[in-house]
Amino acid sequence: MDTILFLAHTEADGTLAKPALEALGSAVDLTKSLAGSLVVGLYGSAVQPAANSLANCGAQKFFAVEGETFAQARYSTDAAACEAIARASAATIVIAAGTSRNARVMAGVAHRLAGVVDTHVTSVAAATGSVQATRWFYRQRIEGSLTRTGRPWILLLDPGNHAAWTGVAGSVTLEMIGVAVPESLCRTTVTGFVTPPADQQTIRPDADLLFVAGAGWTKKQKDGQPHVPEAETLILDFLKNAKASLGSSKSLVDLSGENQAALRFLSHLNQVGQTGASPRHPKGLATCCHGEEPHTVGWRFIGERRAVNLDAGCGWARGKADVLYVADAFEVMSKVNALLAAK
């Protein structure tokens, strides 16, 4: 019988983030499919509140590594905590959320356990009795399902791919695991975070809409001149009014890096597609984007898609978007902003 370990780190406030609850939802479903046994493993500075919130998830046991040392998202201590929990649970399958913290350590943990690992998993199923994971290859261009005989098998589930587990909280008795932390595990210290100023925070993973700005915003307009400052204002106003997240095609981000006339608030973090992020949003609006595959993989996980472009043959839109408005994005977005501001 398979033992499925749901493994998660707690947040700074002792809770579990949505991606963790999504991974738990997947682990619960897999346990049912395999008629296996579910166990929970948590690590962080204080785990009892998070454990209590999962009291009714059906787990047979709750393992924990707790302490201030494990508050920091640091490879050495996180890997030690995950390894200890996985060993104590004797899990054959480990499911965790594909957060940056988990992604930093899980391959290392798999190696220590003489197991195997797969990341960016979009679904886990056991339809035929054996576990099958699905993920993308070649940066969202090819999708494949795979099985492995190696165990334990660690699977990192990408956020947004499974319904989050919900249930009534209760009281849980934790099996605390002591993890020795010699000085050699504390060579790295997390000193803080660099966060963009609030008015430049253009990436909002929870937004309902992804606004994709293409290189056309920086090109010469009808009067033969570029209007970059005006484009900046239009885009920032739209993001504010629509509470949207900002993505950019590679070319536009590269212009920023090369100090050419470009939108000042764009960085490589905004880049979507082949060498950028693969955001998941219910809706997406692309403006002034051009190009064919692979650039359009930035659309891959967007639900409803519309585009504004002067080129009716635009590769970003034809066959990729639901609606293409052949129009001047400067004029359209100016009026969209006025309408949104009036609401």
Binding site: R104, L146, R148, T149, T188, Q274
Partner: protein
């Protein structure tokens, strides 16, 4: 000098991103149609790692840079013709598969063995660089496994910056959720840094650097170590490109006001 670094960059070879990729079933599992014929490049994020590594070596006297790459020998030679002109490096070549469906665990084992076998490498000064994810497997697994196999307990992924302090410690910025960077300070090498974009542009081709590099690259390619990889319990099914094609409605000659109203209505509806 005690603060010098021995930077080893692990970088794979991937198909040029502008090529159409079509999966087929080969004798050992899934592969790309005409894989050996597709134009190839050095993996993009690993390229950033190489440029950042070269920059670090340039700034810290006495430091050294190696590039460890595993790919079919002919493909590696083709890619090195371009890469060699970018930055001074010493190549350690492995002749093996580099596709996205190749098992990362065995690839990592071969790379770790190659890194461990580099003559003159001071492992106490080692900074193991690479891309945080490749453009082929896109997993972010291989570099971590190499680091573990080399016994390196300080690892960073999604790195955009490294700043070396006077005492030999270094500050690292890693990408985390919400468009933020986590700032960490590591007291000294060895460490693994899986690079995201970094902050450096691609260096211009320098034929002199190319000629200098080729003196060591060609012998390295000639004695490339064979690294056969087997599936080892990994089995694929349903490998395919998504066929989703949308019926795009083209809206032409509509007044801007109407388009704006339609977009706002669409945005605000549940």
């Amino acid at each position: 000098m005690s603060n010098q670094f021995h930077v080893v960059v692990c970088a794979s070879v991937v198909p040029d991103p502008l090529q159409t990729l079509e999966p087929i079933t080969g004798s050992t599992g899934p592969a790309l149609k005409n894989e050996l014929m597709l134009p190839a490049i050095l993996d993009p994020w690993a390229s950033h790692a190489l440029f950042e590594g070269a920059n670090l070596v340039k700034k810290v006297p006495g430091s050294k840079l190696w590039l460890v790459s595993m790919a079919p020998k002919a493909k590696l030679q083709q890619v090195m013709m371009t890469v060699a002109q970018k930055v001074p490096l010493q190549l350690v070549a492995l002749d093996g598969p580099s596709g996205g469906f190749v098992d990362s665990h065995q690839t990592a084992a071969a790379l770790a063995k190659a890194v461990a076998g580099i003559p003159d490498l001071d492992r106490s000064r080692l900074l193991l660089f690479g891309g945080w994810e490749s453009a082929s497997r896109s997993a972010g697994v291989t570099l971590q496994l190499v680091g573990e196999q080399l016994g390196i307990a300080d690892q960073f992924q999604g790195v955009d910056s490294i700043k070396v302090n006077d005492d030999g410690s270094f500050e690292v910025l890693e990408r985390v959720e919400g468009a933020r960077h986590q700032v960490s300070v590591c007291i000294a090498p060895p460490a693994v840094l899986g690079w995201a974009t970094g902050s450096l542009g691609e260096p211009r081709n320098d034929p002199q650097v190319g000629m200098q590099n080729m003196r060591t690259i060609m012998p390295s390619l000639q004695k490339a170590i064979a690294a056969p990889i087997s599936p080892d319990g990994l089995q694929y099914s349903n490998v395919a490109t998504p066929k989703q094609q949308r019926e795009t409605v083209i809206v032409k000659d509509k007044p801007t006001d109407e388009i704006a109203r339609e977009i706002v209505q669409w945005i605000t509806q549940e």
